[in-house]
């Protein structure tokens, strides 16, 4: 049976190897914080980290993921919502409907890992998730805030 390392735990899943990671997370592991938006890796609602790299899980078959690779979902980003990005998101009250926000937060957290002080231009380039409510400006501001405050925030 395929084995996946999700949020620090090795999980065995009984599914066809071409099942996308998104549906394994949501339907086998009950981790529904990672959302289904488009199914073609365009909207980013399904973004998770694989070895720290932001990855759209809806188009990624689990056969392409090695057991050694560390998958982190929104549920595993921090134990209690205390990741600097989550704290900045709370401080600026970023979400509206909230459905895209798991993916936004995962994309933002990964960006800050790679680039602790991103400029607006870099944020514009790197955050390509879709939000239909229009939270983009608050997302941008919250990324700056998280960069500024880090764990101190």
């Amino acid at each position: 049976m395929p084995r996946l390392n999700v949020n620090g735990q090795v999980r065995e899943v009984d599914v066809d190897p071409d099942t996308p990671l998104l549906w394994v997370l949501r339907e086998q592991l009950a981790l529904t914080g990672t959302k289904f938006g488009c199914g073609i890796a365009m909207c980013g609602a399904c973004t998770v980290h694989i070895d720290g790299v932001p990855t759209r899980s809806c188009g990624l078959p689990i056969s392409a993921v090695e057991e050694a690779q560390k998958i982190v979902t929104i549920e595993g980003l921090s134990p209690d919502g205390s990741h600097p990005v989550q704290k900045a998101w709370l401080a600026l009250d970023v979400p509206q409907c909230g459905y895209c926000q798991s993916g936004m937060i995962m994309a933002a957290a990964s960006l800050l890992e790679q680039n602790p002080k991103p400029t607006d231009e870099i944020i514009n380039q790197e955050i390509t998730n879709i939000c239909r409510c229009g939270t983009y400006n608050k997302v941008r501001a919250a990324i700056h805030m998280a960069a500024e405050r880090g764990n101190a925030g």
């Binding site: 199914g39 979902t73 549920e75 989550q86 409907c97 926000q101 879709i130 229009g134």
Partner: protein
């Protein structure tokens, strides 16, 4: 190793104990099936329909309208809390059930959440609810102390009798207060005395949206739940000719292939992924129906014919527009067009249903819980009293979730599996192909100018689709759809034209292609603002008058329209020259009871439009939460710019061509301009906030683009035009 996965099979993932108590902030099931069956309300006694105070001083405020991101949940709670005089830090909320509303003679009023009505149409009801509960709590305390209630006051959840120095809490007297008769006369606070309402308080529904804990409809999981994927005919008026269920019956997890109606088939499986992949593999032959030759060009030709037709419904008429235009020395004419749009909510349509003997329950993200209940009851073949709808937070609505097709489908599937929960979830492709699309219209505008550049007459002919003719034909006025004239009517608290033009005729030649239209955030105000506000710019340029000055001359009798326009123009620095390579444009309109204006600064780099700044001014009468108003304005620009820059659903071969975000593009982070919001409530009326600003986004930007390039965009979206 395999211990974890069964968890989800054993229990409802959100934690049923928290859900049944209605305590969980993120997930509200105030009337669980168990509680309803026993006829028992929530655990703590309610003071009245709006307010439950628990012994631990938690105040549960009931919110009838849906929350889809627009912040109404928090705003309505603020209005109740303001009158209740409770401690805001103790406030939590819950959604009453639509069936419960019916049982209690609709004590919570209308559940429908659209038309930017969430707050403006319920503010009286909820403020009175909060005020009545406060008076009952005070009366209960006064009776215990045997003092006149008039000598007691409430503040932050504490009731005091100053003369005797006594005090108590809401929680301590809630049970007694529930038995106090509701007060006869209620006096509401003057908004200028507000301390909770009117303040930029954080939303009540943020926390769980940051950790993945928030459960949306698409996330539901019940023990033994089955999953359904569904496909309806993509052809307008098409049907299923045949399908071969045997071809997929051995696919993993598949339980059943269900034909829901002439045009719709669902595959039910253990997981949604199994259901979806099996449905994709199901051989279906479509009967393409009567419109298989229909395409966008044919629809455009039908609408173009309407621009010149004799017969039209009149929405605004004064003086003699046609006569004046015929005799005028100088006229300007232009034709505009606005395409179909899909709502494209981030969360695709879904609903979960449980059908058992004589009872049907539905869990749904819905903009209208009562309409969901009606749809569920009809599909179940049961009276509404034997059904209930549990409302969830919506992953976007924008008008789409006022329609109940997905609820009906879920119930029809669940009827095949009595006693088992079935979750029905659409693919993005299904969501794009089964829309209730923003109506398609064209408009031809002709204006005449005298030698001083005064606008002497205007004829605006709208040709195209009527939403009401499709959705609510019974609401038509003698065949006319009044909603077509949003923002264009002579006198209306909802949206009157902000210009005084001596000779005016605005009329509508209804042309309804066989594509189902719906209410799309902003509705008809979207295209009407493009038509009028871009044409005003055209007239100004033809008259040789600066566009803002041209408008001001026509707006002397419309001080509220003018005030927002002036505020937006002033903030953007209209009177100072823009930087080199930058130009400005403005627009104003009234809709959903509010006055809105926008001013934009744009440039073009490498043939690509850059929106450098956009300023919005809005006068909604009253502002309940300025922070949420700001977010709604930003969101309105995002939504409006998505439509005007990229949004377009096109028809070929009798069906929509766009099936996902790869062909239906929207604004992303890098296209989102800096937004400055001026909220300027002038009092005396209540207007909506979620929609009107959408309408001024496109014309402000397009007018700026003209000022910069001399290129007048009259057919949306902009992506179809070269700016090089």
């Amino acid at each position: 190793m395999n211990a974890q996965p069964q968890l989800s099979r054993r229990r409802f993932v959100v934690g049923s104990a928290a859900a049944i108590g209605g305590l969980s902030l993120g997930f509200h099931l105030p009337f669980s099936s168990e509680a309803l069956a026993q006829g028992a309300p929530a655990a703590a006694p309610e003071v009245n329909a709006w307010v439950v105070v628990k012994p631990d001083e938690t105040v549960v405020i009931r919110v009838a309208r849906s929350e889809m991101g627009q912040g109404t949940l928090t705003g309505l709670a603020q209005l109740v809390a303001e009158e209740l005089e409770c401690d805001w830090s103790r406030v939590t909320t819950e959604f009453p059930g639509p069936s419960e509303n019916l049982k209690r003679s609709r004590v919570w009023g209308n559940f429908s959440t659209g038309g930017s009505r969430g707050i403006r149409e319920s503010e009286q009801l909820v403020r009175q609810g909060g005020a009545a509960a406060r008076q009952m709590l005070i009366t209960a305390a006064a009776q215990q102390w045997q003092v006149p209630a008039a000598e007691c006051r409430a503040q932050k959840g504490v009731i005091t009798h100053a003369a005797s120095g006594r005090s108590t809490t809401f929680g301590a007297v809630a049970t007694a207060a529930a038995k106090v008769p509701p007060p006869g006369a209620i006096t509401l606070k003057d908004p200028k005395d507000w301390t909770i309402a009117g303040k930029p308080l954080p939303r009540l529904d943020t926390k769980d949206k940051l950790t993945g804990k928030q459960i949306y409809g698409a996330d539901l999981n019940f023990p033994g739940m089955l999953n359904a994927a569904v496909k309806a005919s993509p052809y307008f008026g098409g049907k299923i000719a045949s399908f071969d269920a045997d071809a997929i019956k051995d696919k993993p997890g598949v339980r059943k292939v269900v034909k829901l109606d002439d045009a719709t088939v669902a595959v039910v499986a253990d997981t949604w992924w199994h259901a979806k992949t099996a449905l994709d593999a199901l051989p279906i032959t479509w009967d393409e129906g009567p419109h298989k030759a229909l395409d966008s060009a044919a629809i455009a030709a039908t609408l173009a014919e309407g621009l010149e037709a004799q017969d039209a419904f009149v929405g605004n008429s004064a003086g003699d527009a046609k006569g004046t235009l015929a005799k005028a020395a100088k006229t300007v004419t232009a034709t505009y067009a606005y395409p179909f749009q899909n709502h494209a909510t981030m969360e695709p349509m879904n609903a979960t249903a449980l059908f058992t003997d004589g009872r049907c329950e539905v869990w749904a993200p819905t903009q209208n819980g009562e309409a969901s209940l009606a749809a569920a009851a009809e599909a179940a073949g049961l009276p509404p009293a034997q059904c209930e709808v549990h409302k969830l937070l919506l992953g976007g609505g924008f008008g789409r979730r006022g329609f109940q097709d997905y609820v009906r489908q879920a119930v029809l599937v669940a009827k095949q599996f009595p006693g088992t929960h079935v979750k029905l979830l659409w693919s993005r492709e299904e969501d794009m192909l089964q829309g209730f699309y923003h109506p398609i219209t064209q408009a031809k505008l002709t204006g005449s100018l005298d030698e001083q550049g005064n606008l002497t007459a205007l004829h605006m002919r709208i040709s195209g689709q009527s939403i009401m003719a499709f959705v609510r034909p019974e609401a038509m006025a003698g065949g006319m759809d009044p909603v077509v004239f949003q923002g264009l009517t002579p006198k209306s608290p909802e949206g009157m034209l902000g210009y005084s033009i001596p000779n005016i005729l605005i009329d509508h030649a209804m042309r309804n292609p066989p594509v189902r239209p719906g209410f799309w955030r902003g509705v008809n105000l979207n295209q009407n603002a493009v038509y009028v506000e871009c044409f005003m710019d055209e007239l100004a340029h033809a008259a040789g008058i600066e566009p803002l000055a041209f408008r001001r001359k026509l707006m002397a009798n419309h001080p509220k329209h003018l005030a927002v326009l002036n505020a937006a123009a002033e903030r953007i620095g209209w009177d100072t020259p823009p930087p080199k390579g930058v130009a400005r444009g403005c627009a104003q309109i009234m809709g959903f009871g509010s006055y809105v204006a926008a001013a934009a600064e744009v440039s073009v780099e490498n043939g690509e439009l850059k929106i450098l700044r956009i300023v919005a001014a809005t006068d909604p009468g009253h502002v309940v939460n300025p922070a949420q108003v700001e977010r709604q304005v930003e969101g309105s620009f995002s939504y409006g710019l998505s439509a005007s820059l990229y949004g377009e659903c096109t028809v070929a071969g009798g069906r929509m061509e766009q099936e996902n975000f790869d062909s239906y593009d929207v604004v992303h982070m890098h296209q989102m301009p800096k937004v400055e919001t001026i909220a300027m409530p002038s009092g005396g009326f209540w207007g909506g906030v979620g929609e009107p600003t959408i309408a001024v986004a496109a014309p402000a930007v397009l007018n700026a683009l003209f000022a910069l390039t001399g290129k007048r965009i009259r057919t949306l979206p902009l992506k179809n035009h070269s700016l090089a």
